[in-house]
Symmetry: C3
Subunit: 467 residues, 3 copies
C-alpha cells in the first residue's frame, strides 16, 4: 500500500457550484483569520495552568476523543486495545489501530478535523494509513516535546481570544487561578456546571451535597441553605471569570413549584435514592431556580438536553462515563420549558441558550420559541450535529423563523484541544457557504452577507456569552 | 449610515446553478402572470365591503403581521412600543423600530415579502433602514390615500381571481353580502371556521353555543339541535360563497362515537368547564361529524392541527390571542385520523385537506396517507414553513410518495393583504425551481414540468377547493 | 394526444452541477455493470423454480406492485377495476387505467422504475399514456411469451449474483429445493421470516403454532419446545441457503425476560387472543431470543419496524394484507433496543441490521447507535424512502456519525421482479452523486470515492449478509 498525498484544499467545504463558491470564498477570506471565541467546551484547565507537554500522539488525539474510539469500537475493536480505561495498551499499538482503520472516518467530521490537525498543526504531507502509522506517531510525539507545541503556545498560535472550560461547583478552580496569576495572557475561563449537585441521579449525589456544604459553608441539607450554596458558588465562579452556567439534563423539563413544594421535594431527594419522577422534577425545578439566579448575577444559562447518557450498560460498568455510548433521544421543548417561561420568559435581561440533539425540533419548536421569547437564543448544531451537514441543516431549519440574530455563533464543545481551530474553521466555511447561497439566489445582498459572516464567526458568540 | 439600493432581482429565489436556473426561468415565465387563487386566508372582508383607504404604513404592514412583531419582540422590543394591544404608540415611532431592526429579518420570508411590497407596490428604490424610516412612512401613508391603493383597486391590480376569508358560524357575513351586492366584481368568499362553537376550550364556549342557537333558531343545548345548527349555518355559508370549512385544532385527533355516546359527551361539555380529555374527544368527534356533513353539502374540509396556541401566558393575559406566541408541537396523524378514516376514508366524494406544522410527518405520515386514501389531500407548507426552504422541504418530502396530484397548490393563509401576491410569487418561483431540478436530473420531461408548473400555480387550488 | 418519445438519459439522477456530474459519471461508470446482490426482497421463488412465462403486462407490472395501485386508489380508482382482489377485471382495461393516469407518478420512484423497465427491458421508444396503452399491453404480453423473457433468463440477463426471497417457517421451501436441484445456476436463497409464529396478533397465530409443531416435530405448546422448533427451522433454512432472518414488527421494542417470565408469557399468548401489551412484549422477547440463536447459527438479523399494517380497515376486510394501506409511524430505537443491547450489544459476532420508516431517527438515533454498538449496522433507505431523495437523505443524515462502513449497501425489498435492476441502478446513481459531491467539496479524495462506490454498490451487501 502506497500512502497518498495529504493536502487541505483551500476551497474545502465551500459549495461546489462555481458561482456560489466564488461568493463564499470572498466571504470566508474576511473571517478566516478572526480570533476564536470558544465559549463552551471541555478542555482541561490544568493544561494551561501547568503548560506541560502533551505526552504522545495517542494521548493527545485518540484518548480524549470519544468520536474516534466509538467508531473504532462500532467495528469490533476492543476499547482496551485503544488504551481506554484501566488499559496498559502500548500507545503506539493503539495509534496503529486508528491508522489502519482511518477509512472508517470517510465522510465524517472527525476525518476533517484530524486532517486539519495533521496538515496544519504537524505539517504532514501524506495521509494517515497503516504504512504511515509509525511516521505519524513518531513525528507527533517528537513535536509535542517542542516549546511551540506546549498548550499555551498552541493557544496563542491558533488565535484563541477566550476559551471556556466547564467545572462542577465542587471544583476548586485552582487551575484557573494559577492561569490568572501567571504571566501568560491567555483568557481561560470556567462555566458553572452544577449537574453533580443538581441531578439526584448523578453518581454520589448525596455525598456531593455534603461536599457542597463544606466548600460553601452553607447548610446544604436545607432547601434555603442549598440555594444559598449555589449563589455562593456562582459568585465564586463569576469572580473566576465565568459568564455562563451549563445544564446537561436528560430532558428540557422545567418546573415552577411553590417554595413549600420545592422544599418538600428537596427533602425527598437530598439523601439519594430519589424516584425517577422526583429526580426529573427536581432537575426541572432547579432550571427555574438557576434562571432566577441568572437574573441576579447575570450569568448566561445554557441548556443541553436530550442525551441518554451511558446507554451501554456493560461499557459503563467497565469503563465509566463518556465513552461514546451517549445516544440522543426525542426531545420536547414546547411543554417542557413552559413552567420556566411562564415565570421568566418575557424578561429580556435573562439569556437562555438552548441546544438540541433532536433536529426535528429545529424548525418545529426551537426556531418558533427563540423567534418569540426575549430570553431565548439558539445554540449551534451540537455534538453529533457539529458537522458540515449538521450545520447546514441548522441554518436551513432555523433561519427562516428565528433569523440569524437569535443564534449565538459557534461552540466547539470539545475536549480534543487541537480540534478547536479545525472546528471553528469548518463552521466559518459552512456559514459562508450558506450565506453565499442566499446571495446567489438574491435573498440577501452581498454587503449584508459580509456583515453576517463576521457576526456568525465572532460577534454573536461574544455578545451572547457576555464576553 | 447610507441606505442601499433596493431592487428585486428577476431571478430571485430560482436555483443558483446556471443550467437549472435557465430551465426554472422558462417555467416561471409561463406562470408568473396567472391569476391568483387564494382559497385560505384571514384578511378582513370589511376592507373590500367598505373600500376605505388603509390608514398608514404601520397599520397596513406592521399591526396585522405577527411574523413581524414576534421577531421584534424576541429581541426585547416591547409590544406596546409597536402599537400592539391597548397602546397609544405613535405609528411613526413604531415604524421606526421596524426600520432600525430590519436586519433581524435577513434570511426570513418576511424580508422577501416586505421587499416585494416596498419595491413592487410602492416603488421604493432604497432599502428600509433607520435613515429611510421617515421616507418610507410618509410615502406609504400618502399613497394609501390614493384611489389606486384602496382595497378593491389593489385586489384587481394583483390579479386575485378569488380570495377566501375565514369566519365563525356566529358571524353575520354582512361584509360578504355587501360585496356581492356592490357593483364591484371581485370574488371574496368566506370559509366556515366553527372553532368557537366546536372547541369546548375556546374563550366563551358556552355563550357561543347560546348565540349559535339564537342565530340558527335551533336548540343548541341538545345534541341533535346542535348538529342541525351546524347544517343550517353551513348552508348559509355555502350560499354566501363558501366552498370549504376550516378546523384549527390542537391535534389531529378524530373520534367515531355512537350517537348515544356523542350525545352524552355533548351534555358534559355544553355548559363550559369541560375536562381536557372531554374537550379533546369532543373536538375529535366534531371532525367526524363535519366530514359527514361535507358528504352532504360538498364543502371541502381543511384540518390545521398542531399549534400550541397562546403559549406565552403573560402575553395572552395582557394582549389576547394571535400575538405571535403560538408554537408548533409534534403531531401524530396515523392514529389520530383513524376513527374518521375508518368511517369515511374510502369515500372519494369527501375531500379533506391536511396541513401540518411538524415537518417530520411529511414523508413519514402525510404523504403515505394522502398517497393511499381517496379522501385525503395535502395542503401546502404552512405558517412557519410558508417560506422558500419550507416549500422546498415540502416538495422534497412529499412528492416521491404522494406525487404532485395529491397536493392542492398554494395557500397564503395571511391577514397581511399586500403580502398575498408576494407570497404567491415566492411559491411559484420555488415550485418552478423544484421542477427545474427534476428536469435537469432527467427525472421529468420539460413538457411535463410546464404542465405541472401551471397545475401547482393555478389549477390544483381551483380544483381542490371546488372553485 | 400525441405520445412523446421515451428515452433514458445517460446522466439521469446524477447531480445537475456540471462539475459534480462529471465526477459522478466517472464513479458510476465503474459500478454500473457490477453484479447485483439482492439480499432482501419478496419475489416469488416459484417463478425461478418453474420458469413459466409471466402472464401479461398487468400481471407482471401492476398486480404485484402496491406502489402503483395505492396511488391510483388515492385518486379514486376502485381496486376492483385494477384487478386487485377477487376481481375479474379485464387485464387490458386495468392496464389502460394505469396508462391514462401515468401522470400521477411524475416525481415518484415508480415512474423511474417503470420507465427503465419499458425502455430497457421491453425496448419502448414512446411514453406510456392513453394513446399507447394497447401498444404497451400487446407488446409486453407478447414478449413475455419469448424464451428470453422467462424468469431465469431475466435473472441472468440482469446480472443477479444472488437473490434472497423471504419465507415463513411454515413454508416447505420446495421451490428453493427445485431451483437448487435444477441445472440452472442462479442463486436464489431464502430468509427466515418468523412473524406468523412470533407475532401473537398475526392472523391464525394459534393455528400457525400447531403447524409449526407438526413441521418440526417439536412440542410448540411448551416454551422450550417452541424455541427448539425455531432452532430446528432456522437450521433447515440455513441449509437451504438462508444467511439472514427478517422481523417485521410494529415497533422496535425488545425485552429481556428471565426464562421463567418468558415461559409464563408464552403460556399466556400461545392460544391466541393475547392482550396488546402481551403481544408486544412477546414480540420483543422473541427478538432477543432470535439474537441469541443468531449467535449460535450465524444468521444475520434484520429488524424492519415502524409500519402500521393494514391501516385501512374496510380495505383489509375486503382485500386482505399488503394492499398499499400500511402507514409508517414514529419509531423509537433508543429505549426500545436497550434490553437486547444490554444482553448482546457488545458482541461483535452478532450482526443486526436496522431499518426505519421514520427518517427523524436517522441522525438522532440510528447513526449514533450504529456508530457505537459492534452488533449494529444500518439498512438502506427503506420502502417509501427507497427513492432518489430518500436515499440522499439517508446518506446525508447517517454518514457523518455512522460513516459508510456501518451501512450495508442497497436492498430492493420488492416483489416487482423487473424493478430490481432498475432499483439497484437508481441506488448506484444516487450514491455516486453523493460521493461526487463530497469530492467536489474536497471532503473526500477521488480514489476514496472510487473505493466507496464499489463498496456501496457491491462489497458491503455481500459482507454484511455473509453471502
Amino acid at each position: 500500500m502506497m500512502s497518498k498525498p495529504l493536502q487541505l484544499h483551500e476551497d474545502r467545504l465551500l459549495p461546489a457550484d462555481p458561482g456560489i463558491r466564488s461568493i463564499a470564498r470572498a466571504l470566508y477570506a474576511e473571517v478566516a483569520g478572526l480570533p476564536i471565541i470558544s465559549p463552551h467546551g471541555h478542555t482541561d484547565p490544568e493544561w494551561f495552568a501547568e503548560n506541560q507537554p502533551f505526552g504522545n500522539a495517542t494521548e493527545l488525539l485518540l484518548h480524549p476523543d470519544h468520536y474516534l474510539f466509538r467508531m473504532l469500537y462500532s467495528q469490533g475493536i476492543a476499547l482496551e486495545r485503544l488504551g481506554i480505561g484501566q488499559s496498559d495498551a502500548d500507545p503506539r499499538e493503539s495509534w496503529k489501530l486508528l491508522a489502519e482503520n482511518y477509512h472508517l472516518f470517510r465522510g465524517t467530521p472527525s476525518r476533517i478535523w484530524l486532517d486539519w490537525v495533521f496538515a496544519e498543526a504537524f505539517g504532514f504531507e501524506v495521509t494517515l494509513d497503516a504504512s504511515t502509522a509509525d511516521l505519524y506517531f513518531d513525528t507527533i510525539t517528537e513535536k509535542l516535546q517542542q516549546a511551540d507545541f506546549r498548550p499555551r503556545a498552541l493557544f496563542d498560535r491558533y488565535g484563541l481570544e477566550v476559551l471556556a472550560t466547564t467545572e462542577s461547583p465542587l471544583d476548586t478552580l485552582e487551575h484557573h487561578a494559577k492561569i490568572r496569576d501567571s504571566d501568560w495572557n491567555g483568557r481561560v475561563i470556567t462555566a458553572y456546571r452544577p449537574d453533580p449537585v443538581v441531578d439526584p441521579e448523578f453518581e454520589g449525589f448525596a455525598d456531593n451535597l455534603a461536599r457542597f456544604g463544606e466548600i460553601t459553608g452553607e447548610d446544604t441539607m436545607s432547601w434555603s441553605g442549598y440555594l444559598a450554596a449555589h449563589r455562593n458558588r456562582r459568585e465564586f465562579f463569576a469572580r473566576s471569570g465565568a459568564t455562563s452556567t451549563d445544564h446537561g439534563h436528560p430532558t428540557a423539563a422545567t418546573a415552577n413549584l411553590s417554595p413549600a413544594e420545592a422544599q418538600s421535594l428537596f427533602d425527598r431527594v437530598k439523601k439519594g435514592g430519589a424516584s425517577a419522577s422526583d429526580a426529573e422534577l427536581f432537575r426541572g425545578q432547579m432550571l427555574t431556580e438557576m434562571a432566577a439566579m441568572s437574573l441576579e448575577d447575570g450569568l448566561v444559562m445554557q441548556i443541553h438536553p436530550g442525551s441518554f447518557r451511558n446507554h451501554n450498560l456493560q461499557l459503563f460498568e467497565q469503563f465509566g462515563r463518556d465513552k461514546g455510548a451517549d445516544i440522543p433521544t426525542r426531545t420536547d421543548y414546547v411543554q417542557a420549558l413552559k413552567p420556566l417561561l411562564d415565570r421568566f420568559g418575557n424578561n429580556a435581561d435573562l439569556s437562555i441558550i438552548l441546544f438540541t440533539l433532536d433536529e426535528s425540533s429545529y424548525a418545529r419548536e426551537l426556531a418558533p420559541l427563540a423567534g418569540h421569547y426575549p430570553c431565548l437564543k439558539l445554540g449551534p448544531a451540537w455534538w453529533f450535529h457539529d458537522s458540515p451537514e449538521g450545520m447546514r441543516r441548522f441554518r436551513l431549519m432555523t433561519t427562516e423563523t428565528a433569523g440569524f440574530y437569535n443564534t449565538v455563533g459557534f461552540n466547539d464543545d470539545t475536549r480534543a484541544f487541537l480540534s478547536i481551530p479545525a472546528r471553528h474553521d469548518v463552521a466559518r466555511r459552512i456559514d459562508c457557504g450558506f450565506l453565499a447561497q442566499l446571495v446567489a439566489e438574491h435573498r440577501l445582498e452581498d454587503w449584508e452577507a459580509a456583515e453576517l459572516a463576521r457576526d456568525l464567526a465572532y460577534n454573536l458568540a461574544k455578545k451572547a456569552y457576555r464576553l
